[in-house]
Symmetry: C2
Subunit: 400 residues, 2 copies
């Protein structure tokens, strides 16, 4: 009998996107759905990015492939205009343009580990880490960070306990998707020390670096002293500048062997999207004031979301200091059932809300089943309405 | 010791692109390099595609993610404006937009087979098939088509001989990259029959469908009667419209289980590049006259390349009827050494030529070592000059 491969059949569907058909059905029926489910900000892309696209695309005779590593002009601009401004001095051979942060991550993971090998990851973690691990026969082992402890990173002894001869890397996102946890300098230094001691790569997903809500300067994995060979940085251009759909990210490492491997992966898909690259070149001229405004806006949204969530009976969410997500514990048994019910059954004034069940962000069985990820990516008045809907829904659901 | 994964270390570098550093060095030194190595056409992109980008991008407030399957408007346009025009009636759930044909292929392969399983492929084949197979632990087994026989598809008994209980699919490109071979209707029907009989998928890479140089109508794998569940079509939008860098392709199948799996892969990378999608929507209004002109131009180039090649002592290349490549046997022992020598040592009036060694297009050991792939992607006067250089180089190389 004709059958799809066992691996593709068993591949987990995206927890973040698998509710999409239900929201599409609700919207097709005229229901207003507040999307708190996906990190798709509504913030305006910088004018200079759109300008670059408008000015440069019409002069292209034909839209040909670029170098597999991306346009040299873009790579140079990323080093000179962005990384230098945050105190990172990156050379051209240390950076390769990818199809969004997603591809950077997929490549980094495959460089660090192969089938049968293991990665240590701080849970909760971005769900696609598990997807890419599954597709490559790699096992994730989770160091648990707890909602009741504000998702603080546990002592390094918890990492030590999970070490085996097959462990190849530590994997984290900072600030963390989904929890919004911002790693401290001390946490990063101790994880770096651990990686050096045990010859592990440190894959650090820093795509939300510009979305931090403290006065402390951001401490990048690239700044851990003596960890130059270990760190593989996963970054995004399109996320940083609200150009998510442009699909431009990058992989950065001081380790020449890592970059040589990255180039082989890059060549297999020919090149990153050119129009997104051109737009990104423009985006790199974005003034600092843009990010100040964006941060101020996200702080307003975060404060609104957290105030409302923590005022709902039985709901708890620790304050996130980065990214635009928070994880909340709800007074429900099964958040996935609740999220589906919101889309298929619950309506308040013909409105409902879409959230992401958090269980798939955890590896430890049972963890996160009563939690959801909330992306605070709506303007405050909309967010208030979404919270009204969520509050009412929790009351009704409790009595179903 | 810190080490990259065994798999990424062993991953083959792109045979097509690994000579790039040598050509860049030659160009940096002021040498004119005729690029016959890569299928990057110099043909103008359709005006309507660039217009769409210019008109629509500035009105985007922010460049957000699209549905993982691509913009519905693009998928509809592909079905209504393109596929219908070539006699294929594709429904929306049967098509998913990918990041170029490359991603479509990578997804199709993983859906058809998993680690330890096997695919039958007609050699010579596009070298990245082997790369993706390697990364997924899949074994390619090659049915040999021979240069002296015009790369005709061998009798189906040759396919039968390679069947094992682990065989999951037949894989081919039509027209073929690198040989330019155009499969006949009869060849396609017999391969389809074979796939049905043995419950194999038929992954058909048709990205060069609009580049065929016969009066016969093109016969797509999608037209094989009774093979609906077996066929997975790999297609490209950006290649067809000389928008290679836009990175837009698609995967098409009547098999709902295949498409459900494809969606899981698509979700893991969020969405295809949006600016390329917008440009592709515009491209679908390209008038038929555009393709007539493009075909006439490629026929002129092909005829020039083939006339010149076959007039060189010891060189043989059968006439290709599709794509923009031909495979030529050269009077050399090791075409890779020759290709590298062209870039690093040989100069004629400060010019040289870049070709792709063909050995990596073959699975059978030793096959293709004295062959190269020539992409006839230059205008005839440039192509003539490139052939002058190649002809002279062969004379000199023979005496080195």
């Amino acid at each position: 009998m004709l059958k799809v491969s066992a691996r593709s059949a068993a591949m987990p569907a995206s927890a973040i996107r698998k509710l999409v058909p239900f929201s599409e059905a609700a919207e097709a029926a005229g229901v207003k759905v507040y999307h708190l489910n996906v990190g798709a900000p509504d913030i305006k892309s910088p004018d200079c990015a759109i300008e670059a696209a408008r000015n440069r695309i019409p002069s292209l005779h034909h839209v040909s492939y670029t170098n597999s590593a991306g346009l040299p002009e873009l790579r140079r601009a990323m080093c000179e205009k962005y990384y230098k401004s945050i105190g990172l001095y990156i050379q051209l051979p240390e950076i390769l343009v990818t199809v969004g942060g997603s591809e950077a991550f997929a490549i980094a993971m495959q460089i660090a580990a192969g089938p049968g090998e293991e990665l240590l990851v701080v849970e909760p973690y971005y769900t696609n880490y598990q997807t890419f691990a599954f597709l490559n026969g790699i096992t994730l082992k989770a160091v648990h960070s707890d909602i009741d402890n504000g998702f603080n990173v546990p002592d390094i002894s918890e990492f030590e306990k999970l070490l085996t001869p097959s462990t190849r890397a530590v994997l984290l996102s900072n600030p963390c998707n989904p929890s919004g946890k911002l790693f401290t300098r001390e946490e990063m230094l101790s994880i770096g020390e651990f990686c050096k001691k045990h010859d592990l790569f440190l894959i650090c997903d820093e795509v939300y670096r510009e979305f931090c809500y403290t006065d402390e300067p951001y401490f990048s994995a690239m700044q851990i002293p003596g960890c130059e060979d270990n760190v593989i940085l996963v970054d995004s251009v399109s996320k940083r500048y609200n150009l998510c759909g442009a699909r431009i990210g990058c992989i950065v490492s001081r380790n020449a062997e890592v970059m040589a491997c990255a180039m082989k992966f890059a060549q297999s898909r020919l090149c990153p999207p050119v129009l997104g690259q051109i737009t990104s070149i423009g985006a790199l001229d974005t003034p600092a004031s843009y990010f100040e405004e964006v941060k101020a806006e996200y702080i307003r949204r975060r404060d609104c979301a957290l105030r409302r969530l923590n005022a709902m009976p039985g709901v708890f969410s620790p304050v996130p200091y980065g990214a635009f997500y928070t994880v909340a514990r709800l007074p429900v048994q099964d958040a996935e059932d609740f999220a589906k019910w919101l889309l298929t059954e619950f309506r308040m004034d013909n409105q409902t809300v879409m959230v992401t069940p958090a269980a798939s962000f955890y590896k430890t069985p049972g963890e996160g089943r009563n939690q959801v990820r909330i992306a605070y990516v709506l303007e405050v008045p909309q967010l208030e309405k979404a919270m009204d809907v969520l509050e009412e829904a929790l009351k009704v659901y409790g009595n179903v």
